[in-house]
Structure formats: structure tokens, C-alpha cells
Subunit: 299 residues, 2 copies
């Protein structure tokens, strides 16, 4: 069925030419998720457990914000779970199911009617849109403790985005009704939810402004600073110069491209430039920001 996807070099996830795009619709779904390999996107192969453990990991996740001109990003990735009280966490998680996802499993697709909100237990979920031409635009990543899927719950309608596991990931799944009930019972939590959505609005607005007025280099610089900020908690073990910022997220060039609305090639080239300038460097498969100032002055 997807036998053509594995062929050919320089396959850009989801950004094929229009002429071949029709193949994607062979499925009965609205739009096929562009899968990276034939066996890549298993359906939600979820193991359902009654959630109880592994909350500890999440709670330790604190975000010391790194100044990138404003505090947008640290807010946008506010750790919902750890901001709740013990009782609230109990209340919420008792009515949740724990889903276990393998890398590239999808949690939901655009067009789905799933009516759950999710909290990442561990791993990382990628939220993205797919344009009619098959181009993928990543809206954001969800890290442990983060709440997502909220936006679509309030419109009775279908999901508008895709959510897939970027790596081995576990998420708590909470049914719409339960979640609403929970918010009703815990006004504090409702306020926090509003706070998270607000941060999301600000973050998206920010991204939008950047996309509309900055060039690729600037957008990359912003993105790196942003990810450095949100991944600063999980410091990279390669204990190098602590002056350096570590972008401790697995990002392929294609991901960056999808994140900033550029082509993969341009990202490769630009990143290379930045490396030659000594602004960033690669430390086993992830980026370290050597001269934050250099990036910041591109803003």
C-alpha cells in the first residue's frame, strides 16, 4: 500500500510533488499521514494501563527560562501536571488511561473525532498540520507534563492537526467529559488551563510574526534559542562548556524545515553557515549553541 514511499532518495516527509501526491489518498482517510517508512505508522498500538506510576519523572521537570527576548516559550511549554496539587493530580489521573506509543505511532489525525485531551508522561509528541499539497507544518512539540489536544475539544468538530509520537512516548489520555468535569471541580486547574492556552496563543502569534517577516536564518536562530530554553532542564550529559546552550531535542533538518516553513536544503545550508561561523556546533547528533549572542543578534 505504501510501497512507493520507501523508494527514492531525498524523500521529504510529506512534501512531494503534486503529481505523485494523489497516491496518498488511496486510503479512505481524508489525508494520509506522510509516513516515513512502510511499517512506520502503526495505528494506536496502545497498551492501556491504569495510570499510577511514573509521575515522578515529570514533576522534576522544571523550566528555568533562558532569555530569548521574551518569556513566551517557557510559558508555552508550561508543565501542566506539575503545576497541579497532589489531590488534583490524583483526581485527574484516576480517570485517565495510559497509552504507550512507539516512535511514529500516531495518536490522532486531522479529521478524527477523538474527544480526548492528553498529557505527556514521557517522550515527545509532535503536533502538525498537513497542507493539501502534502507539506507538513509542525505547530509544536509536547514534552513531559504538557497538556495538549485541548483546542479541538471545545469545537464539536474534528481534529485539525496530526499528533504522532516523535519517539517512544507514553501519554495519559483523558476523556473530554472527564476533563471538563475535572476543570469544573477544580477552578484553579481551569485557570491553569487558560494560562496554557494563552501561552499557546502567544507562542503561535510569535511564530506567525516571525514567519511573515524574518528570513530563514533568523527563524532558525529563534527556533534554536527557543528549543534550548525548553530543553534546558534535561541538560545534555556530554558535560562540555557549560557556557554553551544545549538543544536537547532530536531534530532532523527536515523537522526544522517543517517547523519554520522552509525547505530541508535551505536548513542544511544555513545550519552549515552557522557552524562555520562558530555560532553552533554538533555534539553527537544534537546542536549546541556556542555563541548565543550571535544568534540573538540575528533576531
Amino acid at each position: 500500500m505504501f510501497d512507493d514511499q520507501a523508494s527514492g532518495y531525498d524523500y521529504q516527509r510529506g512534501s512531494r510533488r503534486k503529481c505523485t501526491f494523489e497516491r496518498w489518498h488511496q486510503d479512505n482517510q481524508h489525508v494520509m499521514i506522510p509516513l516515513r517508512s512502510a511499517k512506520g505508522g502503526r495505528a494506536v498500538s496502545a497498551v492501556t494501563k491504569t495510570a499510577a506510576n511514573s509521575v515522578a519523572v515529570i514533576l522534576g521537570h522544571d523550566l528555568s527560562s533562558i532569555d530569548d527576548g521574551d518569556v513566551t516559550w517557557s510559558d508555552a511549554h508550561a508543565n501542566f501536571l506539575s503545576s497541579l496539587s497532589q489531590e488534583e493530580i490524583q483526581d485527574l489521573l484516576t480517570c485517565s488511561r495510559l497509552l504507550v506509543l512507539k516512535p511514529r505511532d500516531h495518536l490522532f489525525r486531522a479529521g478524527d473525532h477523538s474527544k480526548d485531551v492528553y498529557i505527556v508522561a514521557e517522550g515527545c509528541i509532535r503536533l502538525f498540520k498537513v497542507s493539501p499539497t502534502g507539506k507538513e507544518t509542525i505547530l509544536w512539540f509536547n514534552f513531559p507534563g504538557e497538556l495538549f489536544g485541548m483546542a479541538e475539544i471545545w469545537s464539536g468538530s474534528q481534529r485539525q492537526v496530526y499528533a504522532i509520537a516523535n519517539e517512544a512516548t507514553r501519554v495519559y489520555s483523558i476523556r473530554r467529559q472527564d476533563f471538563i468535569k475535572f476543570l469544573g471541580a477544580h477552578p484553579e486547574a481551569a485557570m491553569k488551563a487558560i494560562g496554557i492556552l494563552s501561552a499557546r496563543v502567544r507562542a503561535l502569534g510569535h511564530t506567525l510574526g516571525g514567519l511573515a517577516s524574518d528570513n530563514v536564518e533568523t527563524r532558525i536562530a529563534r527556533l534554536l534559542m527557543r528549543f534550548a530554553a525548553i530543553s534546558s532542564a534535561t541538560r545534555c550529559s556530554s558535560g562540555v562548556n557549560d557556557a554553551e546552550l544545549c538543544v536537547n531535542v532530536r531534530l532532523r533538518h527536515q523537522d526544522i524545515a517543517n517547523l519554520i516553513g522552509a525547505s530541508r536544503q535551505t536548513v542544511t545550508t544555513t545550519l552549515l553557515q552557522l557552524r562555520k561561523l562558530g555560532a553552533v556546533r554538533m555534539v553527537d547528533h544534537h546542536i549546541h549553541i556556542v555563541q548565543a549572542d550571535h544568534l540573538r543578534c540575528l533576531f
Copy 2:
């Protein structure tokens, strides 16, 4: 002070070259709002009244959504005020002040610390960002009944966007504390607020996807359909073919450009094409969509 702004033709609001941009910083503000004329941007020349009347106008404002592929837009412009009960409206408006704005008055600027949320009573408020190079990106317009300014309230930080009156406008201003107290006291309303923020997230995500993957023509088409949908309530009086959709919002080409992240010239040209094709036409200073299908098939 702004004596140079009025000079020269083809002045693009806020998108001057970098070399002249420094002039904008003569003020002690972070970034000057690019004003359209020297006398344009008076400070909030607000007349404070105890809000009581003119709610009627707003409540009549109903949104029959026009299908543009999804229901995003009608949601995003959900009428917060009219969705509340009589008592809720009372509660909310008694602790509000009514601000009267002349066209181009600004309500707040990026960097401000104003801690209010607002509800449009009548008129229209434009929310936008200004990039370091002075380029303006419009996030959205707020129409009567709509709640805005919420996103920044939850971060203790400064406003990230500019809000100025697009025309003669009146807004209810509610202090942060009062608003939070209100939401606490009215869980229903809190849910509605969440719904609005959700819709905003969806709308921004949509715009982002479009900006990243569509060309200017498509983006314009989308925009027109969107505005036709949200302005369908206030039908244009020029009672022409009721088959036509009326974009009953005052939009200059520059506004459209700022809305979709394009240059004014390109917007002019593209719009002209669309007119030649018979897809849209001008009816005294605003756009009518003659062939909605034509626009929709550009998506």
C-alpha cells in the same frame, strides 16, 4: 516628531527599510507604533463611562458560519458577550469601564503593562505585531462582542502585541483581577473563555499552516472567505445578488498584505487578477465574492 512619516508616496505602514527605521525609536517606547499620520495615534483618549447601554447592538450579532472548509473562523470570532447569561453580563459589565476610541487610537502597545481584558462594544480593534524591521503582521480583528487581551493577562509579562482601533470603537475594559474573579465565580463563563482561546489557537494554527505552504493567491482567497464568513451578519446594504458573499470589513490592500504576510503590491496585483476572472468585484469600497467556488478551489 513624526514629520517624516507623511512624506513620500507608497508608504507602507511600518515596512520601511532598515536604514530609516531608526527614526521610529526617537520615542522612549520600545517600538513606536507605525502611525499613519502625524496626528493619527492619540494616546488612549478614552471617555470613561459606567458601562450600561449599547449591549443590544452586540447581542443581535449572530454568526451563521459560511463553510470555508472548516468552522474555524466562526468559532474564533465567537461572540463572548452574547454567549453569557443576563446575570453574567451584568456581573461582568458592572466592573467594567467603557472606553471610547477614535479611529487609530491605540488601546495598548507591545511592551505595555496594561492588565486588562477587553470586550468590543462596537467598532473594530486590530491586533498586530511589529517586527524589529517595522513590518506589521495582523493577528486578527476583534468585532463587537468579542473578548480579547486575554492571552497576555496570564503571563505576568508585558503585552506582546499592539491593539488599535480600526475605526470609531468602544470597548469595555475589565481589570485583570476582576476578570479572574468573574471567571472563578462563573465556571460556565470560564469554559467559554477556554473555548475562545481554543478557537484562537486553532485559527492561528490554520493561518500558520497557510502561510507556510500556500502562495499569495491562495492566502488571499482564504482570507476573503474567512472575512465573508465573519461579516455575514452585518449584510451589506447594497442589496445586490444575494448569491454573492459580502466582505463587509474595511480592508485596504496594505491591511490584507499585513494579514497574509505579503507585500502591498502583490496583493493589489492578485486582487486585480481575481477581479478580471470575475471571482470577486468591488462594491463601494469593499469586496464582494461573486464566485465562492472559484476561491475555494484555490485552497
